[in-house]
Each structure stands twice: as C-alpha cells, then as structure tokens.
C-alpha cells in the first residue's frame, strides 16, 4: 500500500439545478479519521460518492485533489451501511471478491490472515446467511482491508449493529484501518467523538470543523471529556435543524 494522501474537496453540488451543498472546502488529513456529520439529505453520502468516483444524483462543480497530486482512482475502498456480501459466496470468497472481479488470482493466505485478524478464522466456509450482523460487517471489513487501498470511505458502516457489537466494530476498524485516510459518514455524535481525528459538520452552505479532544482516538466513550464533547456536538446538530 502506498502512503495515504490527504484529500481536499472544493466545490458545489447541485441536484436538478438546486444547490445541495457548497461552495464547500473540506480537507481530510492524511492517515487520519475524518468524521462527517450533518442532517439527513445534506449530502454526506454524496460527498463520499464523489471522492469514490461514483455517480451522484446531481452535478458537482469543483475539484477533488490529493496531497500527493495523484489520482484517486484505484486508491479508494468503500464500506457501506449494508455489508453487500454476495449470498452465494463463502466468507473467504467474499473477502477475495475484488481480486476475482479484476480477473486476478487472489492471495488466499492474506485473506485468511485478515479474516483471522477480524476474528472470523473459524467461519471461512460459511455463507453470509449463517452469520450474525456483526460477523457480516467484520467480513465486509476484511474485504475492505483485502483491497489494501490508502483511502477508506465508510458510509455509516456500524449504524445497523447493536450497541455492544457497534462498539467492538469501532475499535476493530480503528485498529485495522490505522494509517489510512478514512472518511466516516455517521449520524452518531458519540461515534464521531470516539473515532475522529477531525470532525466535520456538513451544512448546505459550508463544512464546519468541530473541535476534537486532545486525546487521540480511539477515545474512552465513558470519559467525562468525551461525554461532554458528544453533548456539545449533539446540541450543535440540534440547533442546526
């Protein structure tokens, strides 16, 4: 994997001639987690899709650049809210899907190692329907890691999980995605405060940076400072409505 670059997004996104957000100027620091919050429909997922090079419902007028001036194509991996596991493939085969889709021979040893790292070594041959929600997301995480891209874009990947599984997954993701430039779209202020090196609140007019704690992630969710920061962020989000 190459060195993770910082990402800089500037521009405006319009849907059917109506501005959704912008003019925007967001910088996502290299090798750090940037958590994006904002009310529904403000364009958080659109921003993620733009960086991923995927089509959106509207038109983007602006620039997305990286600190190393390299292209984003082929350097991005996406993890969505839904695990997107293919039900006819085993856990192992789902993990190596990227290589299969590129027509390459997958590195099975590496995949097994990653599945071991996410705690699924005993479930390699199982189909997704035999797994719990948490195990399915861990498989999706292993598939994301298998791509070995310097930039990881996470679109509410833990939102459908129960509270304890979500906390476990947050810790696991923070550990295994360390050193990558990560963009996490989330609705949960607690998640953002726990994981973010940078917290960005997206509004139709601008992207505001919310002050984070000096303690590096992953932060103790029960520490008074963390709880205080969450409360402040939640109050700010509510005021925006």
């Amino acid at each position: 994997m190459t060195q993770a670059p910082a990402i800089h997004v500037r521009g405006t996104h319009e849907v059917d001639g109506v501005r959704q957000f912008g003019p925007l100027d967001v910088r996502m620091p290299a090798g750090k987690w940037t958590c994006i919050l904002g009310r529904s429909g403000v364009g958080k997922s659109t921003l993620l899709r733009l960086i991923a090079g995927l089509t959106t419902a509207g038109e983007f007028d602006g620039h997305i650049t990286t600190s190393d001036a390299g292209t984003l194509e082929g350097r991005v991996t996406v993890m969505a809210q839904s695990d997107l596991l293919l039900p006819w493939l085993s856990v192992l085969e789902n993990t190596v899907l990227g290589a299969r889709l590129r027509g390459e021979d997958p590195d099975m040893k590496k995949a097994q190692g990653l599945l071991d790292r996410v705690g699924l070594s005993g479930h390699l041959d199982k189909r997704p329907n035999a797994l719990s929600g948490g195990m399915r997301q861990r498989t999706a995480l292993a598939r994301t890691l298998m791509e070995d891209r310097p930039i990881a874009l996470l679109d509410e990947p833990f939102s459908a999980l129960d509270a304890s599984t979500r906390a476990d997954m947050q810790e696991l993701a923070a550990e295994v995605l360390a050193a990558k430039t990560v963009l996490l779209v989330t609705h949960d202020p607690a998640e953002a405060v726990r994981l973010g090196h940078q917290i960005t609140v997206l509004t139709p007019d601008a992207a505001q940076t919310w002050p984070t704690l000096h303690i590096p992630p992953i932060r103790d969710q029960y520490a008074p400072a963390t709880v205080g920061c969450q409360a402040g962020l939640l109050a700010h989000l509510r005021e925006m409505r």
Partner: protein, 243 residues
Amino acid sequence: MTRICHVLGACAFALFLWQGIVWITGVPSFILPSPLRVAQAAVTNRAIIAENTLVTATEVILGLIIGTVSGATTAIQLASSARLHRLVIPLLVFTQAVPVFALAPILTLWFGYGITSKVVMAVLIIYFPVTSAFYDGLTRVPADVLDMAKTMRGTKRQIMRRIKIPHALPSLGTGLKLAAVYAPIGAVIGEWVGASKGLGYLMLLANGRAKTDLMFASLFTLAIMTLLLHLAVSKATATLGAP
C-alpha cells in the same frame, strides 16, 4: 403429505363428477367418453401412446435446451450492451406480437414434417420468456453492489460472471419453469400442422376416427408429461438458489 392428499382428493372428485355427468346425461362415448373408458383406451393403446410420447418428449426437451441456451445467451448480450438492448428489444417485442401458432405452417414448409419444425416451434415459444426473465434478473442487481464492484475496478466480464449471472439465476429459474409448460404447446401445435408421429399427431388421428377415448388418453399423457417436466425443472432450478 397433506398436500398430496389434497391433490389426490381433488382428482378423485373431478373423476367422480365426470363419471357422474356421463351417467346422468347418457352422452355418447364418441362425444365424451367416461374416465373408465379413457383408462381402458390408455391401457389397450399403451404401446402406441408410449411411442408417440417419446417423440413429443424428445421435441420438447430439445426445444427446451436450445431455447434456454439461446434465450440465456441473448439476455447476457442485451445486459452487456445498452446499445444492443435499444436495438433488439423493440424487435423482440414485435416478434411477440406475431402469434407463434400462425408460424407453424410456415415452419413445417421450411423444416419439413420431421422433428425439426416442432423443435423450432418449441424454441420460438419459450425463447422470449427465458430471455425476458433472465434479462430482468441480470439488470436488477442492487446499485450498491455494482458501485462496490466499480470501486474494486472489476472488469465488465468478471462482474457479469461473478455478480450479475449468479444474482439472476433465480429469475432464470422462473423463466425455465414457464418454458417447461410452454414448450409442449409449441411441439403439439407443430404436430397438428404436419407430422407422422407425436402425441399431437395421435390426438388428431384419434379425433378423425372418432376414437375420442384415445384422444383423451393422449391428452392426459401430454398433461402428465408437462407436469413431470415442470416438476423436474422446478427441482433443478431450486438448486440455483435465491439471492
């Protein structure tokens, strides 16, 4: 087990009703033979029925195989190219506006009185349902999955092979189940227009000679053959799995 009991019960009731109508009305057997008479005709003519069933079954199975392969191939090509889809779909829909039955005499003229014209007829009748069902499945892969494949830089060929086709197999299964019921219709119509063998031919022959009991026996044989074919295809497609 309960389901089998229900089916057997319904069949027994229908036979009883049929026999009752024959007794009460006293209708001549060349108009409506009794179930017993039909059963007797089936036993007496078992060799000739079996021989002709084999011919029709061969036509149907060949038609089903060729129709499925060509329909599935067309669906994959259409799903691979938007331009091809725009060009071919109107043509396909237009061909469906032409009643396939009306083509039977022409097919007999082109392909003769042998098995070929019946196989072609069966192929024509199942080609559209198979193509349409499989194409629907191929183009209904969730957009999120295709986006993921795009970020993985998957090739078009591999996305088709590893995502779209497996996703569409249950839809293909639905098309095949329809095809298993339609294919015998095509073969029998082909036999009616011009043939010297097959259940359609036997029915026409029996009808012409006022052997209505033999005609009914052939008709039931055809129905049983179609049901068995549908059952076999259903069993086979069940293994295709659901996404």
